[in-house]
């Protein structure tokens, strides 16, 4: 009922942990993996990266604002850490880099990955993420380069603040197996008492409930334009959000900021989805893209 097939990967349910949330250590990935179809790691680059100074995360009324700055131990240490992954779910390793060559170099470190996500959309770090994810030709080259290195599924993660249809089509032509949409949206906040921006990096990325309609529109558009599957990401908080994204065309759904409400959210969503699917006498697979039918 809950199982979905995503680029020949069999997921026990359509719920995937989004990148950047609890993804730096195997222990927390293992906790989430118990109830998730897959987990995506924190993005990793070739070199160690300290990230920005605190404050890097603020909780707002309808979402989370962050500028962690792709903090990472670097690819060698991180690939060691992931050896303790339990394999209770599929493991998707998220990569960040600034060129096709660097991306393809990263792939070689992760024998144990079931798939790769390419971070082409982080909105607050120079030279990587969104800086390169806006360039359709470059995105195509990156996907091609990565696909030359691996036969595993490759999912570029795109931003809503780009010409996403053009970029997604370029990625598809380059051989992408699916598209993850969307990353956080650029945002910021100012403290009125100190009269200064709150995040140390000033600018950050907004996630959570506030961005759900934006993500929905992107998923909808991409479903109309692409042949490859879409993985939705952006504001999923309740089981209704999961169903909404599936109806809009997503084959799987990522959850991140909602962990703010509960560490057990994957379990709760899973149980709620089972109840819904039983009542409707249907399955996730049968609901994918149903809202597009005329």
């Amino acid at each position: 009922m809950l199982e979905v097939e995503l680029c020949k990967m069999k997921l026990k349910n359509p719920l995937i942990l989004a990148s950047g949330i609890l993804g730096s250590y195997a222990s927390s990935l293992n906790t989430i993996a118990e109830n998730a179809g897959a987990v995506v790691t924190k993005s990793v680059g070739l070199e160690e990266k300290e990230g920005y100074r605190n404050p890097v995360v603020i909780n707002l009324a309808h979402g989370i604002l962050n500028a962690v700055g792709l903090a990472s131990p670097g690819v060698e240490k991180f690939s060691e850490e992931l050896k303790r992954f339990s394999k209770a779910s599929k493991l998707i390793v998220s990569l960040f880099a600034s060129s096709p060559k660097e991306f393809s170099k990263l792939v070689g470190y992760f024998e144990l990955a079931d798939a790769f996500e390419l971070n082409l959309s982080c909105p607050h770090v120079k030279d990587v993420g969104l800086t390169i994810g806006n360039d359709a030709e470059l995105v195509k080259e990156i996907v091609k380069a990565v696909k030359r290195e691996t036969s595993k599924p490759v999912f570029p993660k795109l931003s809503a603040v780009s010409d996403y249809i053009e970029v997604a089509k370029a990625a598809e032509e380059g051989g992408a197996d699916g598209i993850v949409a969307i990353n956080t949206l650029k945002g910021m906040a100012i403290d009125i008492a100190t009269k200064k921006p709150i995040l140390s990096n000033i600018s950050g990325g907004l996630s959570g409930e506030a961005i759900k309609p934006v993500a929905m529109k992107v998923v909808w558009d991409l479903y109309e334009e692409l042949k490859i599957p879409i993985i939705a990401s952006g504001g999923v908080t309740t089981w209704k959000d999961v169903i909404e994204f599936i109806l809009g065309g997503a084959r799987a759904v990522q959850i991140g900021s909602a962990i703010f409400y509960s560490y057990r959210i994957f379990y709760s969503l899973k149980e709620s989805l089972i109840a819904y699917l039983r009542k409707e006498k249907t399955s996730i697979e049968d609901l994918v893209g149903l809202a597009h039918e005329k």
Partner: protein, 235 residues
């Protein structure tokens, strides 16, 4: 995030101060706040009362923080985290160094609600046994013997009969936590013991994963207070 004004400062020693806010934080003992010192960094700090934090200068931000002047403002997120559980019976508080900070709050909270509270408070020297008059019924230890028992607080605890307590609460540096854990495990008391742990934190709200433990739990959101049984098996 909101901001509070610093109303008053008690300078306990060269390196340790308590900063009082102009407003009470709705909180429980054991909880922490993310305190943002403008131009410096945002850091996690245990509350030492509903309206204060007790800080030791150990880095750039804490060094600037203990020199803050009354009237200055700091940014606050929280209070966050799982607090200590409650008892109105016999309680033992075991504090190591600046680990006493959340136990000042717990001491007052439990005492005001009828508990019989005993404190064991250890530090390297007598200078670091700060704000010790706050504890009504306490014994002290110092590594150099400059006050009380000569040795560390875990050694002092080993001399005590621990059987009659309803709850034992431990907070201090990693080595002291471990020492206390193994002793209390031997005494079969892990089920009545709670430990407050410390880790490097970024978000403070359970999302970023900087503070996850070996068993997958997050110090900021599933802790910082853990029962002895939670820690058994991996510590």
């Amino acid at each position: 995030m909101f901001s509070l004004k610093i109303d008053k400062i008690i300078k306990h020693s060269e390196t340790i101060s308590t900063l009082f806010f102009n407003s009470r934080l709705k909180s429980y003992p054991g909880q922490f706040i993310m305190l943002n010192l403008p131009e410096y960094e945002e850091i996690p700090l245990s509350l030492s009362s509903p309206y204060s934090v007790t800080v030791k200068a150990v880095g750039e931000t804490t060094e600037a923080l203990i020199k803050i002047k009354a009237g200055e403002r700091v940014g606050i997120r929280g209070p966050f985290g799982r607090p200590f559980s409650f008892t109105d019976k016999k309680a033992l508080l075991v504090a190591g160094g600046i680990g006493a900070a959340p136990l000042y709050y717990l001491h007052d909270y439990l005492s005001a609600r009828g508990a019989d509270v005993t404190v064991l408070f250890g530090a390297r020297t007598s200078d670091e046994l700060v704000w010790k008059d706050k504890f009504l019924n306490a014994e002290f230890s110092t590594d150099d013997g400059s006050e009380g028992f000569k040795g560390n607080v875990v050694e002092l605890m080993k001399e005590k009969d621990l059987t009659n307590y309803d709850r034992i609460y431990v907070c201090g540096p990693e080595a002291m936590i471990k020492g206390a854990f193994y002793h209390l495990k031997e005494e079969n008391l892990l089920d009545i013991t709670e430990f407050s742990l410390e880790r490097y934190m970024r978000c403070g709200i359970g999302l970023c994963g900087s503070c996850v433990l070996e068993d997958g739990s997050r110090v900021c959101a599933d802790g910082p207070v853990f029962s002895g049984e939670d820690l058994d098996g991996w510590i």
